[in-house]
């Protein structure tokens, strides 16, 4: 397994270089010139040329990319075009942190609602309660964010006046509540379904019958034998979710005025801020690679029948 892991890890940089190349090449293919955007509409062409020269935009594409990768290996991801003189990581750092926090609280919401509901529904399989709850959660899942977000704002911020409408002051502040619900609630349906299926699986197991047969209390069986075992597969799924932790949620960030990574990314697209875009891509690809690896390893840990072979 050690060999497997290290091989996978060694492949990661190759993956990153290819992914970065893809985004970076947009710079030479896409219309729009970062230097022109920096200089503005009225700029005289000489000024634009000077900026191009300084940014190295006149060099052949591969030269630019090689230089970028060489610097990146030294930890230097370049400077933003849009925010002159601003190091890319200095720019990304605070945004990533906000997105990370936002996603964490959203997961908490998702799990806190989805897992108990899934368990609850499974225990009521065959009654009207199970399909009813599933339907309700499905409806919530289907609601678009641009409906739920304004709706939540209207109710909780404007009518009830409980919570601020916008901004971000950390995952433990009241400002985090509405965005977390907006992102987390639809996901709850997915986890509810996983949990329900997984619980039903466990319910059919002999050890559950045995436990009941031994005269254990319902609560104890539920908690100690059913819920615990049902959660195991869910943990694997959570591993996959890791990749999304640093990702933003554009619409939610826009509606709630959250200074996360999506707004920055969108702006970078419009402003042709390739250093920022490339760094974000590398980060995303890197997270995905790691998450996949973690999930693979988790499988083998949880189910020893799966062997990681290279």
């Amino acid at each position: 397994m050690l060999i497997y892991t290290s091989r996978r890890l060694l492949w990661t940089p190759v993956l990153l270089i290819v992914a970065g190349l893809f985004i970076f090449s947009l710079g030479s293919v896409a219309p729009g010139d970062p230097a022109e955007l920096m200089a503005g509409q009225r700029a005289d062409p000489e000024a634009v040329e000077r900026i191009r020269e300084r940014l190295g935009l006149n060099d052949p594409f591969l030269v630019q990319y090689t230089r970028y990768i060489a610097n990146a290996l030294k930890g230097d991801f370049g400077e933003s075009y849009r925010y002159r003189g601003r190091d890319v990581w200095e720019l990304l750092g605070p945004k990533l942190r906000v997105s990370l926090e936002l996603n964490l609280v959203s997961y908490v919401v998702t799990l806190a609602i989805g897992l108990p509901l899934g368990f609850w529904a499974a225990m009521r399989q065959g009654t009207w309660k199970d399909p009813t709850m599933t339907t309700i959660m499905l409806l919530i899942y289907a609601l678009p964010v641009f409906f739920t977000a304004p709706f939540l704002i209207l109710v909780f911020a404007l009518w009830l006046d409980w919570i601020p409408v916008s901004g971000w002051s950390g995952m433990f502040s009241t400002r985090a509540i509405l965005p977390a619900i907006t992102i987390g609630l639809p996901g709850a349906f997915v986890f509810m379904r996983y949990m329900r299926a997984s619980t039903l699986d466990v319910l059919g197991q002999e050890y559950v019958r045995t436990a009941h047969g031994k005269g254990m209390g319902h609560m104890t069986v539920n908690r100690r034998h059913i819920a615990r075992n049902a959660l195991l597969p869910i943990i694997t799924i959570l591993g996959f979710s890791l990749a999304g932790l640093f990702g933003g949620s554009l619409i939610v960030e826009l509606i709630y005025g959250i200074p996360g990574v999506s707004r920055l990314a969108l702006e970078a697209v419009f402003q042709r801020d390739y250093p920022v875009l490339t760094a974000l891509t590398l980060l995303g690809a890197g997270m995905l690679a790691v998450a996949n690896l973690v999930a693979d390893i988790m499988y083998s840990v949880i189910d020893p029948r799966i062997r990681l072979r290279s």
Binding site: P31, Q41, R82, R84, W168, F270, Q271
Partner: protein
């Protein structure tokens, strides 16, 4: 020249401040921000890009007329409360370096942090007043300007401001390493500056320090509009130690002379301005101005008391203006800014190389009908480039008024009268919104009905638009231009003179050029205006543009506890006069 930047994202924009203006489609830009001065702006609503100027921002710039109507209540005689925080949405400024400002978002902040010898007022009767200068005199047949600085001027760190600071600032702005995209335009008239721009010198003889309080500036020809250009940030004074020691990010802690100081700035999150204790004039009433940069649902934030001002989206317009609603008391009418929206024709591209064809398109559009039916009279049909209330506005200019018969006549005279042989026509607008400009669609429809001329409308995002515009790849385009400084030069000369870098229509008329050349150096102000008006009339007759609207009036919401907020038609520092009732 400011470009309004795009920061925005359309959504953002959309959500954020849409100015009321939005109603018109033109401008609204999104971001919340700023707008300032001049420049072109894209007209489309949705996105916000940047153009120079235009963003519609919200509040800021708009307004021109009748200041008394446009402000939040002025309580005469009362003691104004000091302290308090004024909060609004804004967008990240592309730069805070005065030498690099070309967009409205940056401009509106930079003029609060820095200042120069003279400044704009937004008042048509006295558009320019002294700022750091106590007075100035002009000699040498209009070629030499001698400025006397005020006594005891200080930067916000307490260090003194002298004439040599100005010399250093201007030379630094001109240096190639500074990479100012507009120095040529604003300081290039000063003797010796061109050599610095070209990298052949580091100091300019035209900028002389006579003594600590006296600065003598010599320009290459008597240009009466020169003083107006000095209101632009590139002519502001910066602090040498600050710039040199701060390196590339010196604007993180800018040392300026404006009424406010940059207290903190976290990108994409919030910028806080606090009052400058060393400001030469009356100190600001406010403790702080907080600019929220992360966007959000502007209207909800306003109603939840998280911001003090917002534009009004179309969806909310009816509700907030209903006199039965409490919120209707917050509505303030914002007069139009000095901005002209237009459709520009690339006169080198068929079929726009034919003056008759261009005139036909002009005559075919019933602007009054559109203004009334589509925009509820929030816009005013434009007859030419110079907007009402602006220096040099010509109320007698009739322009190419709607006249179907004349339109058809002109079309018949043009070489593109035959629809089959007429080249395909594409009008490009900047923007990323879902729906392209309503104006453009209505205009296109009028062309179709009156002349049988079919056009395609194409919307591209700002970066692409800008590139195509610079490369003259656009056949026709929809934009708006906002004044940079109070002089007709900012409209007539920079947009239509042969060879001007932003003459995007490639319009070229030797007679117009001759008039402009004469006007640019004419000493008699009355005669000068006449010359510009004459040129303007010829430009209108040649139909390089289809002028659409002047300004866009708008409505904004301002909290009742905010006093002293004004909406001048050009961007001027506004926060120093604002107070918050406790």
């Amino acid at each position: 020249m400011k470009t309004a930047r795009f920061l925005g994202i359309s959504l953002l924009a959309a959500m954020s401040l849409f100015v009321v203006a939005c109603t018109s489609e033109e401008p609204p830009t999104p971001t919340p921000a700023p707008e300032p001065t001049a420049t072109q702006v894209p007209t489309v609503v949705s996105t916000p890009p940047p153009s120079r100027a235009e963003r519609p921002t919200p509040v800021s710039s708009q307004a021109q007329v009748a200041p008394e109507l446009l402000q939040t209540p002025e309580r005469v005689g009362d003691e104004r409360p000091t302290g308090g925080v004024f909060r609004r949405l804004w967008a990240d400024p592309p730069t805070l370096d005065p030498a690099l400002v070309t967009d409205g978002t940056s401009y509106d902040i930079v003029i609060e942090l820095f200042s120069g010898l003279v400044k704009l007022t937004g008042d048509a009767n006295e558009p320019i007043v002294m700022d750091l200068a106590e007075s100035y005199s002009v000699s040498n047949q209009g070629r030499t300007y001698t400025f006397i600085l005020k006594e005891d001027l200080k930067f916000n760190d307490g260090s003194p401001v002298t004439a040599s600071d100005f010399k250093w600032s201007w030379e630094r702005a001109s240096a190639p390493e500074t990479e100012s995209p507009i120095v040529d335009e604003f300081l290039g008239d000063i003797l010796g500056v061109q050599a610095i721009i070209d990298g052949e010198a580091t100091i300019a003889d035209g900028i002389e320090v006579v003594d600590d309080h006296t600065l003598r500036v010599t320009i290459d020809a008597p240009k009466p509009y020169f003083i107006a250009k000095l209101t632009y940030p590139i002519a502001f004074v910066v602090n040498r130690d600050n710039v040199v020691s701060g390196g590339e990010n010196w604007t993180d802690e800018p040392v300026g002379t404006g009424p406010f100081v940059l207290k903190s700035y976290s990108i994409g999150e919030r910028m806080v301005l606090s009052k400058n204790p060393h400001y030469w004039g009356d100190p600001a009433y406010l403790d702080e101005v907080q600019l929220l940069l992360a966007g959000g649902s502007a209207m909800a934030m306003y109603e939840n008391d998280e911001i003090d001002i917002t534009g009004i989206g179309l969806a909310d317009l009816e509700r907030v203006t209903d006199p039965n609603e409490e919120i209707s008391k917050d509505v303030i009418e914002v007069p139009p800014s000095f901005r002209t929206s237009y459709i520009g024709f690339n006169v080198e591209e068929p079929p726009f190389d034919d003056v008759h064809f261009r005139r036909a398109l002009n005559f075919a559009v019933d602007k009054t009908l559109v203004a009334n039916a589509v925009f509820s009279d929030l816009v005013r049909p434009a007859t030419g480039p110079i907007p009402p209330g602006f220096v040099g506005f010509n109320p007698d200019l009739k322009g190419l008024e709607f006249d179907e018969a004349k339109a058809q006549e002109e079309l018949a005279m043009s070489k593109y009268a035959d629809a089959d042989s007429r080249p395909r026509i594409v009008i490009t607008l900047p923007g990323t919104g879902g729906s392209p400009s309503l104006t453009t669609e209505v205009v296109a429809d009028m062309w179709r009905r009156t002349l049988g001329v079919d056009v395609e409308i194409q919307q591209v995002e700002w970066a692409t638009f800008l590139q195509d515009l610079h490369r003259n790849r656009l056949q026709a385009f929809s934009l708006a231009w906002q004044a940079d400084y109070p002089d007709p030069h900012t409209f007539v000369d920079v947009l239509f003179r042969t060879g001007s870098s932003i003459n995007n229509t490639n319009y070229s008329n030797p007679e117009v050029d001759a008039l402009l050349e004469q006007a640019n150096v004419e000493a008699d102000p009355v005669r000068r205006i006449e010359l510009y008006q004459e040129a303007e009339e010829m430009i209108v007759e040649d139909a390089a543009w289809l002028p659409l609207w002047w300004g866009v009036e708008g409505k904004v919401l301002v909290k009742q506890h905010v006093g002293g907020l004004t909406f001048p038609p050009l961007s001027v520092p506004i926060y120093q006069h604002v107070w918050i009732d406790g």
